[in-house]
């Protein structure tokens, strides 16, 4: 192990989340639902930044931001203040972005919060530095890649869509922690009902990563949680290699190419860019009243941490199972629907977070398109409990329920797909196995653990339909007889 393996990794994240559940953009009445629309049809004089136009604040966006701030345990500013952040870029119609800033005379909507996560079974706090409300720029569209495109086209449909910029303190110590944090954050936002992070471009992350004592690298515009983890892992390996070779890590901005799985240098950051922040004179500070904050706090839905606690109490689940369920809100909802009809909660939870989730991923099903009668899961579990279905059969039937929507009871009846529990018949199968495999029988006589192999042979002969418990009993009694007669 080289010495730099022990260097501490410091990671901070800047997350941009579109408030996709808003009806209109942040500063005008244009509909915020711009996706799949013809370019430059989802615009008005305000979000095109035409001369003379003025912004007016979308109140609902402010309420959403306050809800998010509350859920992330932040201090909320008593005044809503916007600044102009200046930089020339063609996707930015005014060549400044209306945003927020932290500093003397400025205030973001919220600051100093935290998110609790669990890493390897241990709780950890990731602090939130601040939350900004700001407007999204338009989009530059290239033919093919940016390097080879003969022209740039600009689509302003996205221009002015409400964004939250959530900035963490550099409290994250590994790519895995970053993933766990982001999963938690996304879950919180989903529970609040302010965004649909699954929508293209609704969720973008800038990740800052450095080794203690070395220059900081920013990876811009990463589009998914999985890519954040991959990009950070890539950077750690890259930077370690440079450090091991005695090199220096330059302060720079890099781009994550998710197709190639590499980060690429965009520009060095020798100079801090000067955005010439100043308060937007078109948006005088608005008071955020205690009453409003209270009212929003009161109407907050149950949040992931609360739900995890409740799952542990109400369903006697351990923290791990409760967390996996709750962070997948739809899965937790499915669990609770099933739990109304089925009270072996741990068994239900296990089925959902292992096989069920695996098949959903396997079939690449978006949970929103999942047409599943939760009662089918309940029926499946009950047939299993009754001994009508074996584990193996349960595992075989589950994907058919998910993908084909079969009715378990009907299917079992019509296919004769039931468990072999006929003792006489099974006994004859066991005798057959004993005849064919005297060596295995001998082993089993000497070592009780070897019985499993015999059970396996019986199961094979019956196509997995034999009741394994019954088979075990039969084998044990036959072995007993042999011991008694043989000695």
């Amino acid at each position: 192990m080289s010495s730099n393996q022990t260097l501490k990794t410091i990671i901070g994240l800047e997350i941009h989340v579109q408030l996709t559940k808003l009806k209109t953009k942040l500063f005008c009445a244009t509909s915020a639902d711009y996706r799949e629309k013809k370019p430059n049809t989802h615009v008005c004089p305000v979000c095109l930044g035409l001369p003379g136009t003025l912004p007016t604040v979308n109140r609902k966006a402010v309420e959403y931001a306050i809800a998010v701030a509350k859920a992330l345990n932040c201090e909320i500013s008593d005044r809503l203040m916007f600044v102009r952040k200046h930089y020339f870029y063609p996707d930015l119609p005014k060549n400044y972005q209306i945003s927020q800033y932290i500093g003397p005379g400025f205030a973001p909507i919220a600051k100093n919060g935290y998110v609790k996560i669990i890493v390897d079974g241990k709780p950890k706090i990731v602090r939130i530095r601040r939350i900004n409300i700001e407007e999204d720029p338009g989009r530059i569209v290239y033919l093919g890649s940016i390097e080879t495109s003969p022209y740039s086209l600009i689509d302003y449909n996205r221009s002015g869509v409400a964004l939250l910029e959530i900035v963490t303190e550099p409290d994250i110590e590994s790519p895995k922690e970053a993933r766990i944090f982001l999963e938690k954050l996304i879950a919180i936002l989903e529970y609040l009902g302010v965004t649909d992070p699954g929508l293209e471009g609704a969720f973008r992350v800038d990740a800052n990563i450095s080794f203690e004592g070395f220059g900081r690298v920013e990876i811009k515009n990463i589009g998914s949680i999985r890519d954040v983890e991959k990009a950070l892992t890539y950077e750690i390996v890259r930077q370690r290699r440079i450090i091991a070779g005695g090199g220096k890590i330059e302060r720079e901005t890099r781009h994550w190419d998710s197709n190639k799985g590499v980060t690429i240098s965009l520009r060095s950051k020798e100079f801090e860019e000067d955005y010439r922040y100043f308060p937007d004179p078109d948006l005088p500070p608005l008071r955020i009243s205690k009453e409003l904050i209270e009212q929003i706090t009161k109407s907050l839905p149950e949040l992931p941490d609360e739900r995890i606690d409740r799952f542990m109490k109400q369903y006697s689940l351990d923290e791990y199972r409760a967390t996996v369920l709750v962070l997948n809100k739809w899965l937790a909802d499915l669990f609770e629907t099933c739990a109304k009809h089925y009270d072996k909660y741990k068994k239900l939870a296990d089925l959902l977070i292992t096989d069920f989730l695996r098949w959903i991923n396997e079939f690449n099903i978006d949970y929103k398109n999942l047409r599943l009668d939760p009662l089918q899961i309940v029926k499946l579990l009950r047939l299993w409990d009754e001994g009508t279905l074996s584990v193996k059969m349960v595992k075989e039937l589950l994907p058919q329920i998910i993908r084909d929507g079969i009715d378990v009871e009907d299917y079992v009846k019509s296919s004769g797909y039931t468990r072999l529990a006929d003792k006489e018949y099974l006994k004859s199968v066991v005798e057959e196995v004993f005849r064919e495999s005297p060596k295995a029988v001998q082993d089993a006589l000497e070592n009780p653990k070897a019985i499993n192999y015999l059970i396996g042979l019986v199961m094979k002969k019956t196509g997995g339909r034999a009741d394994p418990q019954l088979v075990r009993e039969i084998i044990l009694s036959m072995l007993d007889k042999m011991k008694n007669t043989g000695s």
């Binding site: 930044g49 001369p51 003379g52 102009r84 020339f88 063609p90 922040y277």
Partner: protein, 484 residues
């Protein structure tokens, strides 16, 4: 004939609007080439058709229209749907807005007619109308002199009889300065009284659209039409419902309350002798009835500095959007980086004065200089506000000459820009503080008009109109036309 009488005539016989337009266009033909008030004039045929429609569509409600049939000249930084709006800049030479400014909507709703777009200093940066990218406008009282600015075209259109009413915008005196130099009335309303939606911004925290007219009652009519809350402008004051300023004016006029008037010592002392004399004479008229007292407003130079710092800082931001991508000046972007293309558009599209102010403004806002300039300017702005709060505890209005100088000759501005900047000293305070201010024509010196400025506390426009009307009665400065 004043607008308030014209409207009555038009309501009795709508066909008279056409006769009036005939005479107006005749006059425009006669004087426009001498003074060049307009950047765009709507052809008479177009207006005639527009009026025909207006009459047809409003048959049953003509009586309710405050501006029925009245042509209005609109400064060319106020957006007019379908009529190009240039800000007197090459950058926007062919820019046609797809929407109307709120004030334009309001005027049209009251039966007013947009007759043309008036010349101005480019992006309202200037006080002589000479920084216009197209041509300077001349003072109709002496065409070798400037009309003031930046709303110079609006003032000259009134003074030379090309339009009976006009809209200007005022960031540091841009309505009052040309009103004073051209011998007309001009009012900068309280910040937030009139919607800025559609006004192409120069310095957003000080810009206000305001009315200009040849007599006080007409001024009050136009103010009544344009004032009021606009949900599209977050700086527009929400509690102002529709106020009939004509009624408010007459209420005061008939009651004739005695006011406590403050006379700003420094602003008189700093004025040229002829200006001082004429203004003092007008003040004497007021003081023969009201209670007058000299007051002091020190730190004039700092006020000017603070004003220009804030204005340029905001301008550098407001004018960032002009980059040739979406509208305005087009250049060939082929094979050039964005930065190169933007730089060329902005270098070609903006005139010298605008480029200068953008550059200084960007410098002022940059890290390291922000505190030294911008933050200090904001502090001074607060101090000035407090000073005015203090003054208005003991005074209802304060008066001074509008401009400390007579209209300069064309070209003087470029020889000595600092002198012209300093000439804004009397007017910029109202914008920094956000209070209303009016310029009242009071006298001539060697054929050149002199204006008196009155300021009052926020939302005291009726008081200003009242004082103006009293002076108008005593000086007879009413509907006076220049003959260029």
């Amino acid at each position: 004939m004043p607008v308030h009488k014209l409207v009555e005539e038009f309501k009795i016989d709508p066909s008279k609007v056409f006769d009036y337009l005939d005479s107006l266009y005749d006059n425009i033909k006669r004087v426009e080439n001498k003074i060049q008030s307009f950047i765009t004039i709507i052809p008479q045929e177009t207006l005639d058709r527009y009026v025909e429609n207006l009459i047809k569509e409003n048959k049953h409600r003509i009586d309710n229209l405050k501006l029925f049939g009245i042509p209005i000249a609109v400064k060319d930084n106020i957006s007019t749907k379908g009529i190009r709006t240039t800000c007197a800049s090459k950058m926007l030479e062919n820019y046609v807005p797809p929407y109307n400014a709120t004030v334009v909507e309001k005027i049209m709703r009251e039966g007013g007619i947009i007759i043309g777009k008036t010349n101005m200093d480019e992006f309202a940066m200037g006080s002589t109308t000479e920084t216009s990218a197209f041509y300077p406008t001349k003072n109709p009282w002496d065409t070798t002199r400037v009309p003031g600015g930046s709303s110079g075209g609006s003032a000259t259109a009134l003074a030379s009889g090309e339009a009976p009413l006009a809209l200007g915008s005022d960031t540091g005196g841009s309505i009052r300065n040309p009103a004073s130099f051209c011998g007309v009335y001009g009012l900068k309303p309280t910040y937030g009284l009139v919607s800025r939606y559609g006004l192409i911004a120069y310095a957003s925290s000080m810009d206000q659209i305001g009315p200009m007219a040849r007599n006080v009652v007409d001024l009050a009519i136009l103010l009544s039409v344009i004032a009021g809350h606009d949900p599209r402008d977050s700086t527009s004051v929400p509690f102002v419902q529709s106020v009939d300023y004509v009624q408010e004016l007459y209420k005061l006029y008939h009651k004739e309350p005695k006011l406590r008037i403050g006379i700003i010592k420094e602003f008189f002392e700093g004025s040229e002798e002829p200006v001082k004399k004429a203004a003092t004479k007008a003040v004497d008229l007021l003081c023969s009835y009201h209670e007058c007292q000299e007051i002091s407003l020190p730190f004039s130079k700092q006020i000017i500095a603070a004003y220009y710092i804030i204005a340029m800082a905001e301008a550098s931001s407001n004018l960032a959007r002009f980059d040739g991508v979406r509208y305005g000046m087009k250049i060939d972007f082929t094979n050039r980086s964005w930065d190169e293309a933007f730089t060329e558009v902005r270098t070609k599209g903006f005139g010298y004065e605008v480029r200068k102010r953008i550059a200084i403004g960007a410098y002022i806002l940059s890290a390291g200089y922000r505190d030294m300039y911008y933050i200090r300017a904001l502090k001074l702005r607060r101090v000035l506000k407090e000073r005015f709060d203090q003054i208005f505890k003991d005074h209802d209005i304060v008066v001074s000459p509008t401009m400390p100088i007579l209209p300069p000759r064309l070209g003087e501005f470029f020889k000595d820009p600092l002198r012209i900047y300093l000439a804004d000293v009397n007017t910029v305070a109202a914008n920094l503080v956000g209070i209303p201010a009016i310029s009242i024509p009071v006298d001539f010196y060697n054929g050149l008009p002199v204006g008196l400025q009155a300021m009052a506390k926020q939302f005291s426009e009726p008081l200003l109109l009242y004082v103006a009307k009293q002076l108008e009665d005593r000086t007879g400065f009413r509907d006076i036309l220049a003959q260029p």
